[in-house]
């Protein structure tokens, strides 16, 4: 044991001399870049290094919490992590770096959007050298491995016990995806919910092409639509699948839900309804929805008048049936469309004046607008 200690401190002294030497020859040094992914992970979980090689490690932190990076002796990761934990209240002022012979090199705490570099000489002894963040709690999942050998070999990533379990696959972390493509290899399917969603069902979700207060609804017949509670209108409709939320649910959710399928309608009007004064956008206020046989019926007011809108799939899957109720309407209602919005319109009552449907107060109390996907778009 004693011999080992002496030889190790000798090695350390030698290393620090080499390090000085390395810094003066910085341009010949190979650079390794490590960043941080969401969910306490290094983006690079393993890399090769040659014994005695000089390396420059750039540790950047694009996460929104602070991290450090310690390179430990082979097999000493948990020991160092626990030593860091036992620093207790002294941890912050020591950058969570314990005074330990098992710590070979360290990069102190790097705050979000900062980076630090470390130039060092790779140990001459071949082996697997862990690197780890030792902030409290991080060290048990946030680590990687530097493989020091001259043959440049690393085990198959699937069998690599030196990297976190969730990184032992090349696949994405979330395999659950309702709209898995048929040509993909079958993966372990994880349920999305404690029940199997059966259409119709909905998600309040961030989705492109609507305000952040959007509601995405899956209908039967492979139809879906996005109704926007932020603007009180149907924004777009699509056919094919529903949503892929896997990215949205994976980490912090800085993405939008992905629309699966083909959008066949998008509202381009300045507003779908005018009340009384044609051309004037009414003041809208979202009120909520109730589920009728699981279909949401949206409730909103336009200029203080209650509107109810229930959207159903057309039996042949070619479009949407929109059932409107405006029980207390006292004046004319105009329903606006724009040619080229992707739909053909029919109405249960009222009179079309070019692209605008004019409904008298009595007609507007209850009416249906059917929107079909334009023929030429059908395959």
């Amino acid at each position: 044991m004693r011999f080992v200690k002496i030889s190790f401190s000798f090695l350390l002294a030698l290393l620090s001399i080499l390090q000085v030497y390395a810094q003066s020859n910085a341009d010949t040094v190979r650079t390794i870049k490590i960043d941080v992914l969401v969910g306490l992970q290094f983006d690079l979980v393993r890399f090769n290094a040659k014994p005695g090689e000089m390396l420059k490690l750039i540790f950047s932190n694009s996460d929104d919490m602070s991290h450090n990076l310690l390179i430990t002796k082979p097999g000493a990761r948990l020991e160092v992590v626990n030593q860091a934990l036992s620093l207790s209240e002294k941890g912050p002022s020591m950058d969570y770096i314990p005074n330990s012979s098992s710590v070979l090199y360290s990069i102190p705490v790097v705050n979000p959007n900062q980076f630090r570099t470390l130039s060092f000489t790779v140990p001459k002894q071949e082996g697997v050298y862990p690197y780890v963040c030792t902030l409290p709690g991080h060290g048990f999942i946030m680590f990687g491995a530097m493989y020091v050998n001259s043959d440049g070999k690393m085990p198959d990533i699937k069998d690599d016990l030196n990297i976190p379990p969730n990184r032992r696959e090349t696949d994405h972390a979330v395999s659950s995806n309702q709209s898995m493509k048929h040509n993909e290899h079958p993966k372990e399917i994880k349920a999305l919910h404690p029940y199997s969603p059966i259409s119709p069902y909905l998600y309040r979700v961030f989705i492109d092409g609507a305000s952040p207060a959007a509601i995405a609804v899956s209908l039967t017949k492979d139809l879906s639509y996005c109704w926007d509670a932020g603007t009180c209108r149907l924004r777009f409709a699509w056919r094919g699948g529903f949503l892929d939320n896997s990215e949205l649910w994976k980490g912090k959710g800085d993405v939008s839900a992905k629309v699966i399928g083909e959008v066949f309608f998008r509202d381009h009007t300045d507003f779908p309804f005018y009340l009384k004064d044609r051309g004037k956008i009414p003041e809208y206020d979202y009120k909520g929805y109730s589920l009728i046989n699981r279909y949401p019926e949206f409730h909103y007011t336009l200029n203080g008048i209650d509107f109810f809108e229930l959207i159903l799939p057309k039996e042949d899957g070619s479009g949407l049936i929109r059932k409107f109720r405006i029980p207390n309407v006292k004046n004319t209602v105009w329903f606006n469309t724009i040619p080229l919005d992707g739909a053909i319109y029919e109405s249960s009552s009222g009179k079309w004046q070019e692209n605008t449907l004019k409904l008298s107060a009595s007609q507007a109390k209850e009416f249906i607008i059917t929107m079909s996907k334009k023929e030429r778009d059908l395959k």
Binding site: V38, L40, P92, N113, P165, F206, P212
Partner: protein, 499 residues
């Protein structure tokens, strides 16, 4: 297949290691932790736990589910689905809830009695929503007059605002040059809001970065925890008072009549003079890194001796924190101490609620940060803890009251009371180091006749500092070791004889 079983084997060994070594836990004989079995298929990232009047637990989850758990039959049932990141529930009745989700506060009701919600009514959405991923919403909690309070997270500089937002945009609420700082480009991000029974939503206090969790104490004081980061040197418990600003600058642009331009560019001393400091600071890496919901122990002793104190969840550790407050110079301040470490408790302790039997239910979450998933329950075994019951500032130092009489010999040793003080800087940088770290000598001490109260005299007391006390090997009269040995008092105001 082979690699799969190796993986599993490794994971279990790994977990064994992790739990065996973590923070050198002692077995806590006063509290035990039970894990609730979650329904199959549920990604149980918990956003809220509450109890219905009929004794069932209601819980919401990141993927939009609201589920009800019957503690007697241990069965889960779906109540509502499709919500956008529901992070708070207020129970109205067995069939009606208010749920705080991203876009709005929503009334969710089962009107036909089939056990599932069929009405989703907007209660308020009178605040901005830029679609930034960090715009979490918290609450609601209700005061005795029926007002509701919610808290709106600031937006993250790690992301942006969407092409289409809800509400007006004020570019002054962001410092685009300073990378990564949180911001407030749409109304009232970073504010605590009050919703009157008539439905009017009023902004009441600003300056919050990430106030994940709000709650009342028994006297009706409102608290919100904020998370360490830019402008927040270390996480803090804030006493929320109308009209006050708690430190994060971007939020100021939504103050009525704000005319000072981009608040990020005001001199720091100006901002500092405007802000109210945390009533209790949670030293980072020592007490908590990401405190969540504060809940008052209103169990009247069913949960042990800490009745009236606050418990606070911690995301980053297997820990619940305890907070004790007192009024000094007219303001609340006080101390924080770990309440429970490990003993089967997981990380990600995000939501807390007391059950009808006085046990504490804990909902866990990670949401892409450090944490865990699921629901656990902490039960008081009836064995009196060996702990600090309270820490109070005196004119000369601190009084400590313990839950049990102390062993006189160990309690009277001055070396068993090691104080140091430090402060955290108020600046745009992410977090703050501890500054002016100094050991503060205990110059005198007294112990009460019942051996439960120790009065310590310190060589100096300075406002604006955290006083961290590390206890040595003090034993109780019955020879027990103390469960927690570090306690941190936030000294904002000195105690003077006239007050």
């Amino acid at each position: 297949m082979k690699s799969n079983s190796i993986n599993k084997c490794f994971i279990s060994v790994f977990l064994l290691f992790a739990s065996a070594h973590l923070w050198a836990q002692k077995v806590n004989q006063s509290y035990r932790v039970e894990t609730i079995t979650m329904p199959a298929g549920l990604t149980s990232e918990n956003g809220a736990v509450e109890f219905l009047p009929d004794g069932r637990l209601v819980a919401s989850f990141t993927r939009g589910e609201v589920m009800i758990y019957n503690p007697l039959t241990k069965e889960w049932k779906l109540f509502a689905e499709g919500l956008h990141d529901p992070l708070g529930i207020l129970v109205i009745s067995n069939s009606e809830l208010l749920v705080m989700q991203r876009p709005e506060l929503t009334r969710i009701k089962d009107t036909d009695g089939d056990g599932q919600a069929d009405l989703y009514e907007k209660v308020t959405d009178d605040f901005g929503l830029s679609g930034n991923y960090h715009e979490f919403n918290y609450g609601p909690v209700k005061d005795k007059d029926g007002n509701l309070f919610i808290a709106l997270n600031s937006s993250s500089g790690g992301g942006d605002i969407r092409a289409e937002v809800r509400g007006e945009i004020n570019p002054l609420g962001r410092d685009k040059s300073g990378k990564g700082q949180m911001f407030s480009n749409t109304p009232y991000r970073g504010w605590v809001m009050k919703l009157s029974p008539s439905g009017h939503l009023e902004p009441i206090a600003s300056g919050f970065r990430s106030p994940n969790g709000i709650g009342f104490d028994l006297e009706g004081n409102l608290f919100a925890n904020d998370n360490q980061g830019d402008w927040i040197g270390t996480s803090a418990l804030h006493h929320v008072v109308k009209g006050r600003f708690y430190g994060h600058p971007g939020t100021l642009v939504w103050e009525k009549g704000w005319n000072k331009g981009n608040p990020f560019f005001l001199p720091i001393p100006v901002l500092d003079s405007m802000r109210t400091r945390g009533a209790v600071l949670f030293p980072h890496g020592i007490i908590a890194n990401s405190p969540t919901q504060p809940i008052v122990d209103a169990t009247g002793g069913k949960f042990g001796p800490f009745s009236g104190q606050l418990l606070v969840g911690e995301m980053n550790r297997e820990r619940i924190v305890r907070v004790m407050l007192e009024r000094v110079g007219g303001e609340l301040q006080g101390a924080c101490i770990p309440f429970l470490d490990g003993n089967g408790l997981r990380k990600g302790n995000n939501r807390l609620v007391f059950g009808p039997d006085g046990s504490l239910w804990v909902g866990q979450n990670s949401h892409g940060w450090l944490g865990d998933q699921g629901i656990q329950r902490i039960i008081y075994t009836g064995k009196q803890p060996a702990d600090i019951l309270s820490m109070n500032l005196t004119e000369k130092g601190f009084d400590l009251v313990f839950t049990q009489p102390l062993n006189k010999t160990t309690a009277l040793e001055l070396k068993n009371y090691v104080f140091r003080h430090y402060f955290y800087k108020y600046h745009s940088k992410y977090g703050s180091d501890q500054f002016d770290v100094q050991n503060i000598a205990v110059t005198d001490m007294q112990i009460s006749e019942d051996l439960r109260k120790v009065s310590l005299t310190l060589s100096s007391l300075k406002p604006g500092y955290v006083y961290e006390l590390n206890l040595g090997d003090i034993k109780t009269a019955s020879g027990e070791e103390l469960t927690n040995k570090v306690i941190c008092y936030t000294l904002n105001k000195l105690k003077t004889s006239s007050l």
